[in-house]
Subunit: 317 residues, 2 copies
DNA sequence: AAGGTCCATAGGCTGAGGCTATCACCATGA
DNA sequence: TCATGGTGATAGCCTCAGCCTATGGACCTT
């Protein structure tokens, strides 16, 4: 706590501790850390002695994290995340927007937004490499928190925990149905009450879009129809096969309804929708960079968006 | 960010960086860290090279933190705080409630609460040493955040930033006036409106109790009377000298009004007051310990409080 | 000009932390 | 039953990171 008193553990020791906890073995951890197993053993033993806590139970045939060890490992991870941020911060300060960022995206955004913003970002920051990784909100939030990801693009309406964020765009939800469906009245805006007593097609568990749509259905008397779709493309297929009505995020339209299979209607204002945002670990040293990055993303979106959305909506009508 | 990639900086280097930034010189920092100045110079140079950032401008006669350096120093401090927490966590796990905790207290709580809870804590945790430090809320919050303090006892109504907390007790405010004062009507409860158009004696700037009382005065037509008191004791002196009416926290009564100089009246429910709490850094590894400590404090308070408060209130009436 | 202060540099020493080789243990399968 | 292949711990050696002292060069104060 006194910032000048020598600390009895080193960052490398903490890395070893976390590696053993994650990989469940000294040998595997040693390989991952590119050191010999005895070196790692020695450092672990030293860290345990310094902390006064037996982090690992080496009984029997396996290595288990002790009760007290779990707290130690968690805190060690926090230290390493902070240290990793420091290094990344240095990189950014030394040479802004160079290097690699790992950014997560949820599946109901990724295929529609990335083709637009990725090229624009590549133009804006030619020396920055972005590695995109697709996962559900809960997985992304966890990975951002433990430093596996640097940031994530997701919907603000989902539970982001304590992440910090900057909004990128509003993405209204639309009512979509096969042309034969009684709700397929392209000339008029839809109301949420129209869903009353309808069978609504929804996505699989885990998708935040499913949760939002479900909440909406709960507000009126709508029920979930048939099987759950694993993607918006499947959802569109099912809807156009007449299996029910569904909701679609606007950004998905130009891709998923490009052949106009479904009749798509906007809702009367204020209609349902989500706010797509870039989110990162609260207090991340890179907050300033992420804010700039989000601004660039927003510009890219706004340069492409409104015409595209409109065009497709009209074609569908 | 990859938790197994070797980190190019060491905790010791970060300590040196922070020490130089805090003390404004290599020599002083070296002394504080108990190393020779060349050793420290070398480590600083190495850290700067590893991070790719010139943290310190060594031109002219003085050492200045560069623009980019400020961000680096802040993040380095965050890493060291996390590492310090890890060590402290180990200590606690190895031997719960042993060692030293540094806890801050605001001046309008300290003299009244500590004499009650400090002995009780010493009994409950004989091997735990608590070092109490008195300061205003803003200073305490800053020190808790940068790791100079482990926790603080203060009023929840003040701005605690992101600190986590556990409530200890409710501390209602009371109306106090010299017996000659027109508001000195001991038999009846007071209303906030009674302060309308009164001159109310307040504490000095910086005290959160002043801010709370000021807000209260703003709700009615009360104005601040005369000079500002530097302590509740002074406030009581001024009030008993007939310089105006004042507010007092209940916990201060047994001490400050022990001779019954002032007539003290409770407010009608729901009266003004504050919630006294133990607060610590959000996400501190010691959160579990602080929760237990707060519970012990609360028990100590409740064992002493209600009878004492009542006794004195009656004596004053 | 002298002296004092600052930080940087030079060169030497020591131990922290790396390595390989090996041990002790315990499963599993021949 | 015993070899085999897995675990982590131990022993002994070696190298270099990081410490030290001594000194240099730049600047301010006296």
């Amino acid at each position: 706590m006194d910032l000048v008193a020598p600390l009895p553990v080193s960052l490398r020791q903490l890395q070893y501790v976390v590696a053993v906890a994650d990989l469940g073995g000294f040998r595997k951890a040693a390989d991952a850390c590119h050191v010999s197993q005895p070196s790692l053993s020695a450092q672990i033993a030293q860290a345990e002695a310094a902390l006064g806590v037996t982090v690992f139970e080496r009984n029997r045939r396996q290595v288990r994290v002790s009760a007290a060890g779990h707290a130690i490992v968690a805190q060690a991870r926090a230290v390493l995340v902070a240290a990793g941020d420091l290094v990344e911060l240095g990189r950014q300060l030394a040479d802004p927007f160079t290097g690699t960022l790992r950014i997560g995206v949820i599946p109901t955004i990724s295929p529609y937004l990335l083709p637009e913003i990725a090229p624009a970002l590549a133009r804006a920051y030619p020396r920055l490499t972005i590695v995109w990784r697709e996962d559900h909100t809960s997985g992304l939030v966890r990975q951002v928190n433990d430093g596996t990801l640097d940031a994530a693009v997701l919907a603000l309406e989902a539970d982001l925990g304590t992440l910090e964020h900057a909004p990128l765009m509003r993405d209204p939800f639309l009512l979509a149905a096969a042309p034969e469906h009684r709700l397929a009245r392209p000339t008029r805006r839809a109301r949420i009450q129209d869903l009353d007593d309808e069978g609504v097609l929804l996505l699989d568990d885990g998708h935040c879009f499913r949760d939002q749509a479900l909440q909406l259905c709960a507000r009126v008397g709508a029920r979930e129809a048939g099987y759950r779709a694993t993607s918006l493309a499947t959802l569109v297929q099912m809807a156009s096969a007449g299996r029910g009505v569904t909701l679609l995020p606007s950004i998905a339209l130009p891709v998923e309804n490009r052949r106009g299979q479904l009749v798509v209607r906007e809702f009367t204002a204020p209609g349902p929708g989500r706010t797509i945002a870039l989110a990162w670990r609260r207090g991340s040293a890179l907050a300033a960079s992420f804010t700039l990055l989000a601004a660039a993303m927003k510009r890219a979106v706004e340069a492409e968006r409104p015409p595209a959305a409109m065009r497709s909506l009209h074609r569908a009508s």
